[in-house]
Each structure stands twice: as structure tokens, then as C-alpha cells.
Symmetry: C2
Subunit: 612 residues, 2 copies
């Protein structure tokens, strides 16, 4: 019998499936199993290794999901040709001598998985009028005078003498002190100076963490959907990445986490859904970490702009066992071009991380560290974050209001949790990809969500909309255009007049039906809204779980159209609809006779028998 | 028979020795072969794998040299307990529950070879009066006004709008253009914008290069002695590192390079010996690269301060085949705290390097990139480099002069090649480690050299002295103290009076002998120097290969001591010596009767018969 392509180690403490997986990954990354190589069938390899066939099948499936292998129908399983991107470049070239010569190095480039390139980005987002994409920076908010002041101080002779020379592997002690006293205290974290490491931002922090904690023998649990950057970094290290679902309380904590060595989590605002992890869930996660002996990487995403949202304490602040590695940005909201962030963890971990950072880049630039230290010590950072918190909250409310008021297809957003993004759900049969394409052509950028899923086919039918980069006055027109597009897309596919179900009310019948009727809405983010249509053409509305907000307005019927106008809601503008009553539901149709909304209705009297 | 711990792949294109090496490294780094594990004897493993025993022995030896394995006499070969530094930290702790808890993560830290910590560094060098160590920064030379000006421009509203936001993975196009037109042209390099990548300095460039080009299947040739940073980075990647000697023309180019995939070289000023690679050797290296299909990484060390030294063109400028990856610093001489450097290579390579950089840190800070762009465009960088070139040359000459004039034991330095360091050879039996220790206690820092050797036992008996961080007026007193220490160390161990060989001349006999005698020196850097002792107490000297310099002075004999005083040389100071003539050699002894120097002498007349 032919030799097996891998061998198992009978003394290994790893399970068989993990051993198979690890050895195949090692072989692929080292080039021993070249791209395009056909693997033995699961049956054959199982025979050779004397293991159950299911074990091999499971290992193969996992490697297919991770992109190392691909399955070609009716021909077998192969090493993914694109797993080492270099090979693509090389094999894609002609064999002309000059090209071969200049591409001599290309064959030698190692370990750049092809799927890195698939992530959606919009380098030219600035040229779009309605950029609802997250993580981009609104330069009009940059505190120029304050940054200049901090910068001028950092360029004093005494300061230059301190930062101009390298510091080996250490950071600016002034910046460390400011992080310790001004930023961490707000997150409830007490840390010594030797528990803090300055980095080149969160990407760099996660890179360091992945270099230190991940290898082919490590299992990392990540959120699904979740941050694709960490998934890619773990892929580079060949780690076993398992996904764990997220619900309305954040990462689900259950037995599936038992086998993880490290759990990556974004508790403040989950990436990408913006859900906040509940306090109880946080406690469960830390208890599980202790019980099952895993570490937690806490990426405190958007902690910077949380200042007005009374966020829950960081996991690191609740962490008695020293198991949490806390990662945060310093410059994302200030100016991403500056690239500063930090890690808080056990002093011993930080010492080792410092050694790794030393090998990668020595240390983040000390002139920027010193400038940031002054920016913090002068209180400019705090006031910037307060200001950004106010501005982003205003924008976020504007976006919610716009989505709530001009709905085209039923859409849902996550409940109010602060942050700067909304995770917008659409019906399952709605063609989101088409919407994103068309929006872009109409100057509207919204973010697709598949790349947040480890298996793209699992992606929910959602878009992600953020407000960090769009001025507040563009939000409503942007949403209105977006909804206009949605209406175009669904034209003819959604319910329209005349309708087969329910009764289209006209004229006096419509007026009589609406009189004293109560309408019960769900707003876009799930909160209830109750509208009463009174006798004198007056309308009252209460909304929120505790009727936090109310408004009054006027309603009337003219011809076959029901008009309503709130004093404040819906921008105080009058809207007209055709109305259909279908059992206990009311359906609103626009002038194109397309359905645009629906709600529950309680009529004052039963409808009379239908005419005809 | 027991199972082998590794298996060979009969289809592999790798040699047997390399396969064994690679599989052992993979096993060690993945933790499959834990620290302290005893390996099978070479005989046994050879039997199990059915290969020649020598093959296993060679693989083991290589891994011992790389620090993966250690050999314990009479007990066998083991996985080095310190190879994963984390294990040291872990096993070194007590088993108290709280400690075990807080150290939970420690077991999980991956791949930090212990030897990283062995490299000599002097974080407090600034507090020493005589810091003759290289690579440290003299902050008094920082061009404060010019940097402030560039910085102010980079903080204009228009500029801030450009740099404050992130740029995805791209660099500041203004900086790229300045590098292209102002820096590369001086090195003879023509490059397009897409052939340049900005990095966080040379360490970061080499990290990127090692991530891209090195893995366990790659052979890297490096200089011996050579840059330890690249060696460590390659170790991290598990690459096969082979060393290649350096002679007075730089890296030796011979058949040993045939099997390399990549050759790392420092042609401008070899690290650490400061030798410049000759033009012919450069051509040979490029020819070999083409013939044997390897890449060249050119680390243009100290290119920044080369402005006055008419350096040879960069390898990259002579590289028709696109095989050279050029690496240089932008901030080492300006202010290391800023951390900027760049890579020039084939556009395809740069594109991939950009992807890797994106994963590591996105991009170097754009505010610093823009400031540096202005600093260059205003011409400040050029004038700084000219100024530094002048200052460092002055210091270098002062160091050479000091070493030449106050010699304690015979020392040699490399010939004049520019740069800012000297590689100082001492006799083989001299205890250099003791000198370095004692110097430090006396406020003098000189650099040991063992860490530049892949096998420390091979280190020559040298010290390395640099001038970037010591003001010119401290050089002579520093060298004099150093030589004083050397004299203390060798006291009683070197020749002293009365001497067993040669004849100690006194009084009139001494005067007669010196009259019309010609003394032929070798200066410390190897150049000849001829001194003639004329009748009227006049002395003339010519030095250099073409008598580039001459001086005159006075000599006299008083009692048993020969005095000489040059007009300019030896700082114009009078020195007195006891003199011994031994055949055609003259030996100079100080007032402690220790030998301090020797030279060839041509006497006007034979010495008369010895008296008694």
C-alpha cells in the first residue's frame, strides 16, 4: 500500500482530527503539499492512518471551510490553488524569459492566503455623497488647534531630547501614565505601567496577540458574525478557528467554548452587529474562562466614542484571574492616520509582547507617543471624545429616525445600544447584493456583511450602516434615496394594489374606518408605537417601551387617500397613503400602489360587509 | 522497532538533511517535541529513517547551532528548554494557585526563542561619559528648527485633511516622490512609485522581508560576522540560515552561495566590520544571483551618513534582473524615535509586502510621513546628512588618531572606509570580555562582538567602537582611559623591563643609536609611517600609502629616556619612552616599564658589542 501523506503521533495529546488538520496545514504552508495537489480520498487516508473515516471527513471539511482545501465535484479534494497567493501570480504569467527573470522572487513569497483580497473596502468613499460605511474618518471633526498645541509642546527642546533617540523596546512613560489614569479609569480598569503596551493601533495589537497566542496547536473561538481581521490573522498562524454565535446579549457562552484556548470577543459594541454584551453574559464568560482554562481577548471596539453612553465596565475590569487581554485604539476617532493603540494585560504577557514588538518594529514612533501624551494630559482627548459622542449620537438618532420614517421594505435594526453603526436586517428573499451595487451607483455606500462570516453562505440578509463619516444633514436624504432604490428593486415583487388579500378602503368608508381606530406599530428598532385617530381630525402618538415620546398631528381622508401629518415626527411632513385592511392589519400603499408599511389596527367598529 | 519521531517524504524535492531539519523544527515550534525531550540517538534515527547516520548527525549539528537542540555530554541530545521562552517563565514559577491562575496564559505564548534576550544593549548609554557604542543617537545633532518647520507645514488644514484619515494600505504619495527623487538618485537607483514601500525603519523592513521570503523550506545566506537582527528574524521563521565569511572586500562570493534562496548583505558598510564591498565583488554577487537563481536583500546600512564618502553605487542600481530587495532607513540618523524606513523592490514584490504590512500595522503613521516629505522637499534632509557626514568624519578621524597614538596592546582597525564604526582587533590571547566589563565600570562603553557571530565561539577577539553618540572632544580622553585600562589588564603579562630579548639602551648609547635612525611603523589602520631622527634633534615623519601627511618634531635623550614631540601629531604632546632594540625592531616602554609599542628600525650604524 502506498505511503500515507501524513503520519499520526500516537503519543500526541491532541485529538486525531486536530492532528490530521495540523499536519495537513503544516504541509500546505511549508509547500510540501503544493497548491493543486490532489489529496487521497477520505476513505483511503482513513485506512492508511487506521482511523475512522468520519475523522478524516471532519478534518477535510474544516480545512475546506478555512480555505486550505477545495472540493471539486466528482474529482476529489485538492490543495487550494489560491492558498499561497504567490502561486497565482506566478502561474498567471507568461513564460517570456524577461518576465520569468523579474518574477524570480515571486515563487518565493510565502503564506499570503488569497482570501485576504476578498474583503470589501471603499478607498474612495470620500467622493460619495452618502457614505453610510463604518470605520471611515470624518476629518472635519479633527481637533486641529488642540493637536497643534500638543504637538508644539512635544517639540520643545527638552521633549525632543527625550523622544528623538530610540528607547529600545520601551514606550513613552508619559503616555503610559496618561492611558493609565485618563483612559483606563473610565473603563473601570486598574493597571500598572508594566501592564500596558503601546501599539500601532488595533490591527497591530491583534497581530501581536495572534503572533503570541496562536499556532497550529491552538483553538481560537471567535464571534460569528465577527471581526474578519482577527480571523485572517489566525488563519495566517494556522490556528484552529471555531465560530460561536452572537445573540442580543452578545457572544453566546456555552459548552462549545470548553475546548477553546483563547476566545476573542468585542463586548462594548459587537463587531459587526453593534450588540452590547450584557453584564450577566460578561460574568458567564469570565466564569467559563476560569472553569475551562481559556484566555479572553477583549477588543474594546469604539470604546473611544462611548463617553456619553454609560457603557458597561470592560471585561478586564471584572477579571480577577488575569485572563483578559484588553485591546483598544487611541487614534481611530481622533485621526486614524496617526495609528496608536494599546494592550493591557498581565505584566508578564506585556513583557513578552514587548519582545515581539521589538522584533517587528522596535516601538511606535515616540514623537507621536509624546504628542498624544500631551493631548491627553491637556484634557483635549476627553473633550474630543465628549464632542464626538454627542455628534455621533445625533447622527445615529437621525439615521434611526430616517430608517423608521421612510420604510420601503420591512427592515429591522438592532435595539438602541450606542455605538455608531446599525445592523439592518431585510427580508430573507430580498436581494441585498443588488441593493448594494445599485446604491453605490447612486452615490450611497452601505456595507455588505458576508465578509464578517467565516462561511459566507451563512450570512444573514443584512446591510451595515454607520454614521462616523456622513454629516447629519446628509443622513435623511441618503436614506430616502436608499429607500427609493429599494422600492425600485421590489417593484412588482411586493404586494401592490389591487391586492388579493384584505379590503382596499376608499372615500367615506376609509374615513369611517380610521375614525377612532388605534394603530399599533413596531418601530424599525423594535420599540412599539401607538397611534389614535380622534374625531376632530386630531391624531395622538406615543412611542417607546415606556411611552418615552409622544406627538400629536392631523389626519384626514381626501378622495381615496389617507393623509397624516405629525407636528414633529416624520419630519413634520404630510404623507398620503392608500389603505387596505386585512383582518387586524392595516397596510399602507404609496402613490405607485406599492406596499410601504403595515401595522396592527383596532377598529372602533367592524367593517361593513364588502361591497361586491 | 519503535516508531520514528518524524517521517521522510519520499516524493519531496528537498534533500534528506533539510527534510529532517525542517520536520524537527516544525515539531519543536508546534510543541509536538516539547522542551527537554530527549531525541533518539543519531544512529537510531538514521536506522529508523533508513538514511546515512552522517545525514542525521549533520541535521542535529545544525539545529544545535541554531539553538533548537542542545547536546549534553554523555547523556544525549535534547530539545532546548529555552527555545520557547514561555516554558522557562512557566516552569520557573511556584505552584501556588494564584500564581498558576495568573500565569494561565504563559503556557500559551508561542515561539519566542530564548536567545533573543542575549543581545547586548545599553539602555542607559547616555549616562556614560564615553559611549563608543554604535547605533545610538546624539540628540544634540537633531535639526530642531528644520523639523519644526516641516512639522508646521504638515499641520496645515489641507495637509491634515490628507493624512488624518487612514489610507488603507497606501503611503503618502508626497513622501514616496521625495524618496524617489531625492534619496534614491543619490544611490544610483531609479524606481517607480509602485516599487517603494514605507516601513517603520530597517527592523520593520527586515521583519517584512523575513515574513515574505523565509520559511522552513528556505535557505538564507547571511554574513559572518553579521547583523544578528536578521538572523533572529530568520530563526523565528524556522529558515535554514547558512553563514558566509566576510573578507576585506565584503561578503565572499563562492560556491557556497549556490544553494541559497536568498542572500542578505550589507555592502555599504558591512555590519559589524564596516568593510565596504568592492565593486568587483558586487558584480560577482549579482552574477551569482542570476546564475544560481537567488534573491539578494541589500541592507544599505548607514547610507544616510554616506554623503561625504562617495560611496559605491547600491547593488539595486546595478541589478538588471530585479533580484535585489533594497532596504534603507530614513530616521536612524535624523531621530530614531521617529522610526521611518523604506524598501525598494520589484513592483509585484512591493504589492505583496504592502498586503503583509496591512495585516501587521496598516501603514506607518501618515503625519510622520508627511512631515518627513516636507523635511526632504525643503532640502533639510540633504543638509542634515551633509552636516552629519562632516561631524561623523571628524569624530571618526579623531578616534583613529587616538587609537593610533595611545596604543596599549597591539590593536588593528579596518582600513579607512567611511562609516561611523571601527572594528578593533586585539591579540588572540587578550581578554576582551574583561576589558569590556572594566571599561563599563570606568564610564567607557565599547561594544562586544560575539553576538554578531552565529556561533559565538567563532568570534574574533575584537571590540567595536562607534562615534555616532560621543562628542569629538570626549574621544581622546575616552581612548586614553581605555588604553590605561588595557595597560592595567596586561600588567605583568606583557613584555616589560628588564627584558629577556633585545638590548635596553641607555644614556649616550641610546642617543647614538637613535641618531639618523629610521623607524617604520604600521599605523593602527594598517597604513605605513616613516620617521627619521636627524642630527640636530629634528625629526620628520611621513605617513600614508602615498605619504599623504607629514609632520616634523623634536627628539632628545635625557638620562635613559627617549623623548619625542611632534608639531601636530600625537596632539603635539611630548612623550618619553625607554627603548629596547631587538634585531631590526624597536620597542617602546612606558614609565611603568611596560611595552606600549613597537616598530621596525634601520640604524645608521650597527650597535656596538653589548657591555656585560
Amino acid at each position: 500500500m502506498q505511503d500515507a501523506i501524513i503520519y499520526l503521533d500516537s503519543n500526541s495529546s491532541m485529538g486525531l482530527q486536530n492532528q490530521i488538520r495540523q499536519k495537513l496545514v503544516d504541509g500546505i504552508l511549508s509547500g510540501a503539499f503544493p497548491p493543486g495537489m490532489k489529496l487521497p480520498s477520505s476513505r483511503k487516508l482513513a485506512q492508511q492512518l487506521a482511523v475512522a473515516r468520519n475523522t478524516v471527513v471532519a478534518a477535510y471539511h474544516q480545512l475546506i471551510a478555512d480555505g486550505y482545501l477545495i472540493s471539486r465535484q466528482r474529482s476529489g479534494i485538492f490543495v487550494n490553488e489560491q492558498i499561497l497567493e504567490s502561486r497565482v501570480g506566478h502561474s498567471g504569467r507568461g513564460s517570456v524569459a524577461a518576465q520569468a527573470e523579474s518574477a524570480a522572487w515571486a515563487r518565493r513569497v510565502r503564506s499570503l492566503p488569497a482570501r485576504w483580497r476578498e474583503v470589501h473596502d471603499q478607498p474612495n468613499w470620500r467622493y460619495y455623497p452618502y457614505p453610510f460605511i463604518d470605520g471611515k474618518f470624518d476629518q472635519t471633526l479633527f481637533p486641529l488647534a488642540e493637536w497643534r498645541e500638543a504637538n508644539r509642546l512635544a517639540l520643545s527642546v527638552a521633549d525632543v531630547n527625550e523622544w528623538s533617540t530610540g528607547r529600545g523596546d520601551s514606550d513613552d512613560p508619559k503616555l503610559i501614565e496618561e492611558i493609565r489614569t485618563k483612559i483606563l479609569t473610565r473603563r473601570g480598569i486598574q493597571a500598572h505601567a508594566d501592564e500596558i503596551l503601546v501599539t500601532m493601533g488595533t490591527q497591530n495589537s491583534l497581530y501581536l496577540v495572534s503572533q503570541m497566542l496562536a499556532d497550529t496547536a491552538t483553538t481560537f473561538a471567535v464571534e460569528e458574525p465577527g471581526n474578519y481581521e482577527i480571523r485572517q490573522l489566525l488563519q495566517m498562524r494556522g490556528a484552529d478557528v471555531v465560530t460561536q454565535p452572537v445573540d442580543e446579549d452578545g457572544l453566546v457562552v456555552d459548552d462549545r467554548l470548553c475546548n477553546a484556548n483563547v476566545v476573542y470577543v468585542t463586548p462594548s459594541h459587537q463587531i459587526p452587529t453593534a450588540v452590547a454584551m450584557s453584564l450577566e453574559r460578561r460574568r458567564e464568560l469570565l466564569d467559563a474562562a476560569s472553569a475551562h482554562d481559556f484566555l479572553v481577548v477583549e477588543d474594546d471596539y469604539e470604546c473611544e466614542t462611548n463617553y456619553m453612553d454609560h457603557p458597561l465596565p470592560a471585561l478586564r475590569s471584572m477579571d480577577a484571574g488575569g485572563r483578559v487581554i484588553y485591546v483598544a485604539s487611541l487614534s481611530k476617532a481622533l485621526a486614524p492616520g496617526i495609528r496608536l493603540g494599546f494592550i493591557v494585560a498581565n505584566a508578564d504577557f506585556i513583557r513578552r509582547a514587548r519582545q515581539v514588538r521589538r522584533k517587528i518594529l522596535n516601538h511606535p514612533p515616540l514623537n507621536n507617543q509624546r504628542t498624544m501624551a500631551y493631548f491627553l494630559s491637556l484634557g483635549h482627548y476627553d473633550s474630543l471624545m465628549l464632542r464626538l459622542g454627542r455628534i455621533f449620537r445625533e447622527r445615529r438618532v437621525a439615521l434611526q429616525r430616517a430608517l423608521n420614517n421612510v420604510r420601503g421594505v420591512p427592515m429591522e435594526i438592532s435595539p438602541e445600544v450606542g455605538g455608531t453603526t446599525y445592523w439592518v436586517r431585510t427580508p430573507n428573499d430580498f436581494d441585498v447584493a443588488n441593493l448594494i451595487r445599485q446604491s453605490e451607483q447612486h452615490g450611497i455606500l452601505v456595507e455588505p456583511v458576508e465578509h464578517y462570516y467565516s462561511i459566507r453562505e451563512n450570512a444573514e440578509n443584512c446591510i451595515r450602516m454607520g454614521v462616523t463619516s456622513i454629516p447629519v444633514e446628509r443622513i435623511r436624504p441618503g436614506v430616502e434615496r436608499l429607500v427609493g432604490l429599494i422600492r425600485e428593486i421590489v417593484k412588482g415583487k411586493v404586494e401592490h394594489l389591487p391586492t388579493s388579500t384584505g379590503r382596499w378602503l376608499r372615500g367615506d368608508e376609509l374615513r369611517r374606518a380610521m375614525l377612532n381606530a388605534t394603530v399599533l406599530y413596531r418601530e424599525v428598532h423594535g420599540a412599539p408605537c401607538t397611534i389614535e385617530h380622534l374625531e376632530n381630525g386630531v391624531m395622538t402618538g406615543r412611542r417607546g417601551y415606556a411611552n418615552e415620546d409622544s406627538d400629536s398631528g392631523r389626519w384626514r381622508v381626501e378622495g381615496d387617500i389617507f393623509y397624516r401629518k405629525w407636528d414633529r415626527w416624520v419630519y413634520g411632513e404630510e404623507k398620503g397613503y392608500y389603505i387596505v385592511i386585512d383582518g387586524d392589519k392595516i397596510k399602507y400603499f404609496n402613490s405607485d400602489k406599492q406596499i410601504v408599511d403595515s401595522a396592527y389596527i383596532r377598529l372602533a367598529d367592524d367593517l361593513p360587509e364588502a361591497v361586491g
